[in-house]
């Protein structure tokens, strides 16, 4: 009688155990396929790094050649007024395009996320800095006569797009973290119109609970544009 019960219990146990083992084997087998993708992923990571390295080498080479070009261009055109004029124009255009480091009078705006105040229950509250906010400030700065602008370490050019990737703001393809520092060269008195009561910084930022600081400066330095101007679709027609 007792032996019969013993056998039944053991049978059930063994049955449960074998099911568990079968499940286990199946899971491990499935897992095998995902291991394959981790391998391709680390392969991908290596490829990304390699490509980045290739780009950096190429960029360094380009910088060297560009510097040499400037010297050589100056040398070949210095003896002739007509050529000198062309060379000056090239220099000026490079400055306008953001192809060199520049400095000048201007302003620095620092933007940061605010803290949500749940006691206020204000519907206008939106303490995070969004890409559109940065885009609007850049537009307002230009309206106030800003000649050159940078966002953190990225120079803003006529090719620059400001977008968002999840919670991160992307400028010239590089991710920008908060605090966001916008530096602008121009008349600091005119740029200061953004900071007046009820002005752009109040409307876009402070009213919504975002943090915006404005500072006039006698000199601010901007980095040069990290990209290149190249055209695949547009052709000159004159």
């Amino acid at each position: 009688m007792n032996k019969k019960r013993e056998i039944i219990i053991l049978t059930i146990m063994c049955f449960a155990l074998s099911i568990a083992i079968a499940v286990q084997i199946k899971t491990v087998k499935n897992n095998g396929t995902t291991i394959g993708s981790t391998q391709s992923e680390s392969n991908l990571k290596a490829q990304v790094l390699k490509m980045k390295e290739k780009y950096e080498k190429e960029y360094e080479w380009l910088e060297e050649l560009t510097n040499e070009l400037e010297t050589v261009r100056q040398n070949v055109s210095s003896h002739n007024d007509g050529l000198k004029e062309l060379e000056d124009k090239i220099k000026k255009d490079n400055l306008l395009l953001g192809n060199s480091e520049v400095k000048g009078q201007g302003a620095i705006i620092t933007l940061n996320d605010g803290k949500a105040d749940f006691n206020l229950l204000d519907i206008d509250q939106d303490p995070l800095i969004h890409a559109e906010n940065v885009l609007q400030v850049i537009n307002e700065l230009r309206n106030a006569g800003a000649e050159s602008i940078s966002i953190n370490d990225e120079r803003v050019t006529n090719k620059t797009a400001i977008s968002c990737d999840g919670n991160v703001i992307v400028v010239n393809g590089s991710k920008i973290g908060t605090p966001i520092t916008i530096s602008a060269i121009g008349s600091s008195a005119r740029l200061a119109t953004l900071d007046r009561t009820g002005g752009t910084l109040d409307i876009i930022f402070r009213k919504a609970g975002k943090i915006a600081e404005f500072k006039k400066v006698n000199t601010v330095e901007l980095p040069k544009y990290s990209g290149v101007y190249s055209y695949k679709y547009a052709r000159n027609i004159d």
């Binding site: 993708s37 990304v48 780009y55 400055l95 306008l96 230009r142 000649e147 050019t157 290149v228 027609i237």
Partner: protein, 242 residues
């Protein structure tokens, strides 16, 4: 009898122990699988990054070759002023194109924006004018999609362009020129499929315009002409750092 009970207890204990081990192993494997799931999500991001770097590399390489060639010309032909002049003019024309000071032509799209008419309005939609911000967002999205030249109502978008609302309604100022209509024609040169989907794709700005009561239409073309910026660009405050 007593011996049988012992055997039973020991056997059951061993079986229970094994079962527990198997369950633990199972937990561990499941946890690991979850981690790998996150990793596969990163794979898409990695592919995106790879494409970005590759694109940047190719652009830089092309530019470097261009600079190399120009440099060669200057070095070789330093004796002949006419050859030097030719090379200088070529360099200058590339820079003027980048500045937006030349007329350009190429593949691209034309976007037309206008306020909807009364009978075109859907539920919950009302007539709204087109504001400067709408144009700013569209220009930004087009740049993000690689637009090489953009104009709004024939006003070329350049590096120092600002787009602002002037009156309460209807008046918009671009490059210090007033646009006294609320109908806009935005032209962009670049890969027409990329440009189109950047505005008219799922989640694009055209959806938002639609809700705001603005009719947006797009037309692709192999040959779009965009006029140059006719003003002078001069900097007063910017100087080069040596």
């Amino acid at each position: 009898m007593k011996k049988g009970k012992y055997v039973m207890i020991v056997t059951i204990s061993i079986v229970c122990f094994l079962l527990m081990m198997v369950i633990f192993m199972q937990f561990k494997v499941t946890q690991k699988s979850k981690e790998i799931n996150i990793d596969t999500m990163q794979e898409a991001e990695l592919r995106q990054q790879l494409a970005n770097w590759k694109n940047k590399y190719e652009e830089t390489k092309k530019k470097r070759e261009e600079v190399s060639n120009t440099l060669e010309t200057y070095k070789e032909e330093s004796s002949s002023d006419s050859k030097t002049q030719e090379a200088l003019e070529k360099e200058l024309s590339t820079l003027e194109q980048a500045l937006g000071k030349t007329d350009v032509e190429g593949e691209g799209i034309i976007i037309n924006l206008r306020e909807k008419k009364e009978n075109e309005l859907g539920d919950d939609e009302s007539i709204t004018p087109i504001f400067a911000n709408d144009l700013i967002y569209i220009v930004n999205s087009l740049k993000d999609a690689g637009a090489e030249a953009i104009s709004i109502n024939n006003e070329r978008i350049i590096g120092i362009t600002d787009i602002v609302d002037i009156g309460e309604y209807v008046n918009i100022k671009i490059n210090s020129n007033y646009i006294r209509t609320n109908e806009f024609e935005i032209k962009a040169i670049g890969n027409s499929s990329y440009l189109e989907s950047s505005i008219f794709g799922k989640g694009g700005y055209a959806e938002q315009l639609e809700i705001s009561g603005i009719k947006a239409t797009v037309q692709k073309s192999n040959k779009i002409r965009i006029n140059k910026y006719t003003g002078e660009i001069n900097f007063k405050y910017v100087e080069e750092v040596n």
